[in-house]
Amino acid sequence: MADLRPSRSRFCPRLTAAFLCVFLLVFLHCASASRDAVSGGNDTGIRPVRSTQEDPHDHHGNSTEHKKAFPVLAFNFEHVRKPFEISMWILLALLMKLGFHIIPRISHVVPESCLLIVVGLLVGGTIKAVEGTNAPVLDSKLFFLYLLPPIILDAGYFLPIRPFTENLGTILVFAVLGTLWNVFFIGGTMFAVCQIEGAGLGDVNLLSCLLFGSIISAVDPVAVLAVFEEIHINELLHILVFGESLLNDAVTVVLYHLFQEFSREGSVSVGDALLGVVCFFVVSLGGILVGFIYGILGAFTSRFTSHTRVIEPLFVFIYSYMAYLSAEVFHLSGIMSLIACGVIMRPYVEANISHKSYTTVKYFLKMWSSVSETLIFIFLGVSTVAGPHVWNWTFVVFTVFLCLVSRVLGVIGLTSIINKFRIVKLTKKDQFIVAYGGLRGAIAFSLGFLLTDSKMKHMFLTAIITVIFFTVFVQGMTIRPLVELLAVKRKKESKGSINEEIHTQFLDHLLTGIEDVCGHYGHHHWKDKLNRFNKKYVKKWLIAGERSTEPQLISFYNKMELKQAMMLVEGGSSAKLPTVMSSVSMQNIQPREPPRRRAMPNISKSREEEIRKILRANLQNTRQRLRSYSRHDLMIDPFEDNVSEVRLRKQRVEMGRRVTLMSFHLCLPEHQVFTYDDTESPRSAEMKPGSAAVQLLNESPQRSDQSDAEPNAKQDDQEEQLKLSRCLSDPGPNQDQLEQGSLVS
């Protein structure tokens, strides 16, 4: 196993690598043994490794002649063969992924996708060498129905909407016109190439070439994601290439089916071509419509899930998957349907579901898409070894060459048209990255695999695999140094600044206003209209309770506070406070007011330091208490009713804010936090003087009695910390009413 050469400098990687080697061998034995068990029927051709047990035919019953002893240990692999194999493959994929990240040097140079393909090649090769039979190939049905949807859903659900909609025109032009250009250029030129004498390609007619072109032209979202994820280029370029790879699915689907039909017919008429154009619109718009419907359904369903929080994530997944499958039933574009569903569903679902469900959705999507991606690349490697290959130098070389050329020409040509309409033009560097980022991947392979068996199909497949390998290996490996060489703008680390959010919204309104003054209905005007429509009608239907009227700025602010609070507690006492690591406090920015606002005497600096130390220490204690509660509380968690969940969320937000503020030693009015619980009235804020300084030193928790909505503040800060621990580890039976304490000032 060449790629698992252990590094010398560290002990751990060696061990892991050795373990992986051993595991790989065991895995191969299993895989081959299982194959034997299948192919040999009931024969006993099982490796000595496993034959230490009794007679393998025991599961057939006691119908044999001589009476055997009762089988203490039996072997029945057939029973679990399929799930066993699937699990082994997934485990292999995951261990590979693990291994790559432990061995640090390789993962900096070579993108993960390349390594995975290499592993696949090795596995496939080993299986073939050891067994002589073929390894499992990347079945198209498996790919399209099980492996691809999680990746697309992950992409669609977390699609950054703002850059996507701002560049939608550009993306569509690249996706539709760019792919069309690629198809016809490659198809046509390959046909011309096939006419060359001596290449042995005389039997490839124009329609087959066009079909081949339609398979090979589409930029693949999986490959793009895999490579671009690691290089962190700026948002604009990322969304351009990635958006293109998603939206060109409709074109690919239409053209593929079109040319397949025509190939079968053998001839094309003008009417057919026109129908093809109509088909394109039907496929894309239909796909979007299907996704839209399911998205609205999902959003609407999530409105009522406040009593069954546990199954909330499932709604998201099932509705999206149904959208994909429904679109596939009608041969509409499944990818666009999935994207539309995710995009539509997300803002409403996120407003409705609990925080835990949101985290669940996020992590499950990431997990599934990660596993899928790994499996796809490994299977690509394995399939390469497996399939019958027909290598034709002319065909393959020209294919690779033409793919590159057509991509570059297409991007340059289209950009010159697009730049006339863009406000912010695309520079030459941008164009280069867009062209270079046109990677082909497993979708092309699967489409090729679906073709009817013939010598031509094998030739096509070989060429497709070569192109995929070329783009993933050569382009994938060199794009990172190129990005650095060309000094392309990288993704800026956005820290969720409240100022930026304020100004984003301010700018939106400002630009809309200026457009109105100018008198033409531009981009901002329509966006503003859509937002207002959304706020007025749609949100009322799809979002439960009072959240439907919550302005975006407030939800953003709440989210940020929550995040800060979580970070603070999770990091323990040694946590770096987010961004604002300074001793600027509220009193620095409040204008000096008459003493009525600050009834407490000035604390000397040393005293402040003391107090701060005590606070920090308390947080640490809090943390330990957290650990001791965790197991117990997690078990209660799924069965807690909604009310405590709601209170928890509210408490957590308030707690979070308190903890944050305590450390910043702010003297802040109580916020209004949105809850789902309509019974609790919003609290009005009042500035309370910081007379709690003294009480800080008092550690004992003060539990107050349960009562709803007590607007008057009680000064107790200590219990907040304890409550914080309980809140975050999930709720115990305590239903402590949140207290309004004020803080040290």
């Binding site: 600044s497 100022n499 008198g519 700025l553 300074s582 620095n588």
Partner: protein, 216 residues
Amino acid sequence: MGALQSLPGQPEYIDLAEKTGFSLEQIGVLHKRFKQLSHNEETLRRDHFNEIPDLACNPIRAQIVEAFFDRRNFRQNGEGTVQEIGFEEFLVVMSHFRPPSLHMTEEQRENVRKEKLRFLFNMHDTDNDGTITLEEYRHVVEELLSRSGALGKETAKSIADAAMLEVASISMGHMEPDEFYEGITFEHFLKLLNEFEIESRMNIRFLNMDTTTLCK
């Protein structure tokens, strides 16, 4: 219909084009709009702006209208407000929203950025004293949330406070407990919105052709 509307204004147009960077066609279109807004008078007043129906539902309408009458936006280093503006001032204010051209040096791009941020700063700093105080910032946030009813007021205050805290931390780093942060100066404002990429965001598309008959 892209032809210039008023021939007598032609030499002025060239002057204006040089000053503001608009093309001649764009100036023509904007002039037509100016005339439409002002009912063919020579100057625009605030009530003319208030007649625009689409602007009525904009939460920061008042600030937008004020920006047009703010002398600091006329690029003449003036101060204070005026009661009415002519076409030239209208155009100058509009030119703040022109996109940066493709071939610009770094320095020019930086200047464009500063200009746009200066415009925003002026919009926030209503009392012309060169700093955005906490009160002014609170006002900004309140206006933004003004559509959400009564609950906006208190939350707006806290949001503005938190934002101000952020600015102070970014700009000042460390402050003694009894120091007082006066307000956001222009330098701090620049630093705050450093990552904001305003030169690519604060733009609108100015048409070269006339479509004003479609909307009021």
